[in-house]
């Protein structure tokens, strides 16, 4: 595989931390401003993919620390726990429970919807990283590009191998 562009590799060092911070920012402010777990998760996944393309998929996995599948499972677990707090207080599954404190100038609120959104965030990061990393890591299906043994995945309609 040919080496990725040097510009991409340099930019990556600056962009990835920025993307991660913005993604967390989107996640946390999501309840009141544009953002949320889904958008935040996509942004974080973009950071992972950037590393995978600029460096290697292995490097991207190292950045994630946890296996993407574990992230998905963890996210679902967090969302489930967020949903089960409602029943603990005698309400239906996924009923929101809020804690609020108004200390002078500082207004604080936290609730199970935020926890739930964190679960969404984790699932999205895990799932999108899985899509990208699994496909990226797979060895090319047709190493011989001249088409000696082309795999006919969707070229049944007579896609002729080109000589590019």
């Amino acid at each position: 595989m040919k080496l990725p562009s040097i510009i991409l590799r340099v930019m990556q060092h600056w962009l990835v931390p920025l993307l991660v911070v913005v993604s967390l920012f989107l996640l946390l402010r999501g309840h009141d401003e544009p953002g949320g777990g889904f958008a935040g998760g996509l942004m974080a996944a973009a950071a992972v993919i950037l590393v995978a393309l600029a460096e290697t998929p292995t490097e991207a996995r190292r950045l994630l620390r946890l296996h993407p599948t574990t992230l998905i499972a963890l996210g679902l677990l967090v969302a489930l726990v967020a949903g089960l707090i409602g029943p603990l207080t005698g309400k239906a599954f996924l009923t929101a429970v809020w804690l609020k404190a108004d200390v002078g100038l500082f207004y604080f609120k936290a609730g199970t919807p935020l926890l739930f959104d964190i679960g969404v965030y984790l699932v999205v990061v895990g799932a999108v990283s899985t899509f990208a990393l699994e496909i990226e890591e797979a060895a090319p299906l047709a190493p011989d590009r001249t088409g000696a043994t082309p795999a006919k995945t969707d070229s049944v309609e007579g896609g002729a191998p080109s000589k590019s």
Binding site: F38, A39, T69, L76, L114, V123, A139, V156
Partner: protein, 767 residues
């Protein structure tokens, strides 16, 4: 309390069975049989109340919205049935201990048997008809597990599958029938159900309930599953497929007699079905050579007699049915156990290879003779009384019914002689040399149950007063007087003739076997239907899933469009042109950008330009969201577009280079694109032109801050108001990711181990 325990004891024992078997070893079957005996005693204790007319009841809420109540009512007929189930159950548990020996499956088999016992008692004492249905299905399921015990054997699996499919289809019909009855009667409790025969829906309910009962009790044309079920271990066959489960259909029909018995269709339907089944049995018996197959056919015949008697529905016939039910359990159970003992001793059930076992297995053979005499109907056995009353009731209805029962009784003589006389006194074969008597745990149940047939036969007064009489009364029919002997009359003559001709048939059995035509085999018909269904499915799959992603997408999209458009045309849904005029100018500009990108995408001949143009189109949509003041949607759309393009490009790296070369492929693609575009435009316009109900968006906007504590309405909807949907969506997302992982992983493995599968032009989908 006692009533709940009769269900709780077997369920609890069933749950601990696998563990207990490992801990207790040979003691476990004894414990299990003791459990069954306890249930038997509890039921006996409840009998006096039931006879006096105030049966014990239990009522607990289960699913009150659906009318499902955990309602039990131990009336005399229910207790009568449950006594048979627990009594035979006691014998079977003990017998299974000896029969299976150190077989490692003993734990699970006894567990399923106990669970079956609980389900069957549930059928007997259920008052709520939906509760009855749940128990009924549970018996089908446990039967499936027990037939398939030997799941490494192909034929066992086939037998189990047939039994499950046939009884489950019947079960579905039964559910329909019961729901009709319950809704129309306004009560779900059997005891409160009025006579429904003049209700307009009664006939429909009756047909459905008949389907349930006939499949369960192996009546024509559903008889074939019962011989197939004989692959189960013999204790299972003895318990489920002769003494108890197959009688559930008879039991249900008896229960329904007071509700639907006056229906004009009741008698002809049941009597004709029973007659067809009897003819089937009469033709099948002379050719059968397997001990268990012979017994299975005679079981089907006995069930047919009971169905016919319920169909006739007179006082005499209902009494005869109850006596027959008891007599059959007392002789057919032991006969199966005798067959099992012979199989256990010499490892064969083929009557052509058996003979001369009388000296080696005296107790088994004597038991078999007692049970066989009851089956043949020799006085003073219980079987004699049952047959006399059945013949009498049949005669009162129509002479041909009595005639048919007589011929069937002849076939029973043949079965009894084949099953007992040939193995016991036939020419001694080499197999007999190493035969041995069964252990005590197997002998005791056989002896006890078969001698019941003798004891009850000589004490008809006891039978009438405490067992049969109350049971018949609780079916809302007046019992007739029972006696062993009632003079020289026509039934006795017919009965004697049956024994005589049966003996003659046994003597000339080879000639008779050759004379009887081979029947079209039920299992073969079932297989034909089964294979046809599966084959049809396979062909449809081959056409629809031919391996080309382009075809998949094209099919899905075109079918969806055609369906949507046809609805639009049929419903003549109006389009209000004014909605188009109200569009602001900025939207028109963005729409133009989107349209240009769409045209470029559709015309692209290579992947990369296509995906780039698609991305541009997505960006147009993002712009549109921004213009509509939906920053949240725009942000998400923007990210999704970028990531899709990136992931698609990564994916393309793996595919061979691709270019559309032929004009007609291009035209096809453009045509599909136009069709989709047109459909979606129409749908959007139709949706905008119609006010079905007040939109709910206002509610969300008003309540986001007060109830959801958030300023971002979209997010509040996602994580709070519609949190459950989101939860489902992230589960789907996770599953999709796992799917990608598995697909890529298996592709890698495939390439490593058999690369030729990927290179070839494989039309078959890769399994």
């Amino acid at each position: 309390m006692l009533l709940e325990l009769t269900l709780a004891i077997p369920v609890l024992l069933a749950v601990v069975a696998p563990l207990a078997w490992r801990r207790l070893g040979a003691w476990w079957p004894r414990v299990a049989s003791l459990g069954a005996l306890t249930v038997f005693v509890f039921l006996l204790l409840m009998l006096p109340d039931a006879i006096l007319g105030h049966p014990q009841t239990v009522t607990r809420e289960w699913m009150p919205q659906l009318g499902v109540t955990f309602a039990l009512r131990a009336d005399s007929f229910g207790i009568f049935m449950a006594l048979i189930i627990s009594g035979i159950g006691w014998g079977i548990m003990s017998y299974a201990g000896g029969y299976l020996g150190k077989d490692e499956r003993t734990g699970s088999i006894t567990g399923w048997l106990l669970l079956f016992m609980a389900a069957m008692i549930g059928v007997s004492v259920a008052d709520n008809i939906l509760m009855l249905f749940v128990s009924w299905e549970m018996t089908s399921f446990t039967s499936f597990m027990l037939i398939g015990t030997n799941h490494r054997d192909e034929e066992s699996r086939v037998g189990a599958k047939q039994a499950l499919l046939v009884t489950a289809i019947g079960g579905l019909a039964l559910l329909g029938g019961l729901v009709i009855l319950g809704r129309q009667a306004g009560t779900w409790n059997l005891s409160e159900m009025p006579a429904m025969h003049d209700h307009p829906f009664a006939l429909g309910a009756f047909v459905l309930i008949c389907l349930g009962a006939f499949t369960k009790s192996a009546q024509f044309p559903f008889s074939f599953w019962l011989p197939g079920a004989m692959r189960a271990p013999t204790p299972v066959s003895a318990y489920l497929h002769s003494a108890t489960m197959v009688k559930a259909g008879v039991f249900l029909l008896a229960r329904m007699h007071h509700v639907l018995g006056e229906l004009p269709a009741w008698t002809p339907t049941l009597v004709i079905t029973a007659a067809a089944t009897m003819i089937l049995v009469i033709l099948a018996v002379p050719r059968a050579t397997d001990l268990k197959a012979l017994l299975a056919y005679s079981t089907i015949g006995a069930l047919a007699i009971m169905v016919g008697l319920i169909g006739i529905g007179t006082d005499k016939s209902m009494t005869a049915m109850v006596v027959f039910l008891l007599a059959h359990a007392c002789y057919k159970g032991p006969l199966f156990l005798v067959a099992g003992s012979i199989d256990h001793a010499v490892h064969s059930r083929d009557i052509r290879r058996l003979g001369g076992l009388a000296q080696k297995m005296p107790v088994t053979i004597v038991t078999g003779v007692i049970a066989g005499l009851s089956m043949v109907g020799i006085p003073p056995m219980l079987g004699f009384i049952a047959k006399e009353y059945a013949l009498g009731a049949g005669m009162n209805y129509a002479p041909w019914v009595a005639g048919l029962i007589t011929v069937l009784a002849m076939a029973f003589v043949l079965v009894a002689a084949n099953v007992i006389l040939i193995p016991a006194f036939g020419k001694k074969r080499e197999l007999a040399s190493h035969a041995h008597e069964a252990p005590w745990s197997m002998r005791v149940p056989m002896v006890v149950i078969s001698s019941l047939g003798l004891i009850l036969g000589v004490s008809p007064g006891l039978l009438e007063r405490y067992i049969v009489g109350p049971a018949v009364t609780s079916l809302e029919v007046t019992p007739v007087h029972l006696s062993l002997w009632h003079g020289w009359n026509l039934p006795l003559l017919l009965s004697t003739a049956a024994v005589f001709w049966g003996g003659l048939a046994f003597w000339k059995r080879t000639a008779l076997g050759a004379f009887c035509p081979a029947l079209p085999s039920g299992p073969r018909i079932f297989d034909a239907i089964w294979n046809g269904t599966v084959g049809f499915g396979r062909n449809v799959t081959r056409i629809l899933q031919n391996g080309s992603l382009t075809m998949y997408l094209g099919t899905i999209v075109v079918v969806a469009c055609v369906l949507l458009l046809s609805v639009w045309i049929i419903e003549a849904a109006p389009i209000d042109v004014d909605v188009v005029r109200k569009v602001p100018i900025i939207d028109v500009i963005i729409a133009a950008v989107i349209a240009v990108s769409a045209v470029v995408t559709a015309l692209a001949r290579r992947r990369l330009p296509a995906i780039a143009a698609l991305g541009a189109m997505g960006m147009g949509v993002t712009l549109f969201f921004l213009a509509s003041q939906a920053p949240d949607l725009a942000l998400t759309q923007f990210l999704v577009e970028i990531l899709s393009v990136v992931i698609l490009v990564i994916g393309f790296r793996h595919l061979p280079d691709f270019r559309i070369t032929k004009k007609r492929y291009q035209i096809g693609r453009v045509a599909i694109a136009v069709l989709v575009g047109f459909t979606m435009s129409v749908m959007t316009l139709v949706a905008l032109s119609t006010d079905y109900a007040a939109p709910i968006s206002a509610w969300h906007g008003d309540n986001a801050l007060t109830k959801g504590h958030g300023h971002n309405v979209v997010n509040v909807i996602l994580v709070d108001f519609r949190g459950f949907d989101t939860f489902g969506e992230i589960i789907v997302l996770g599953i999709a990711a796992l799917g990608v992982g598995v697909l890529v992983g298996s592709l890698q493995k495939l390439r490593k181990h058999n690369p030729e599968m990927l290179s070839g032009n494989t039309k078959e989908p890769v399994q």
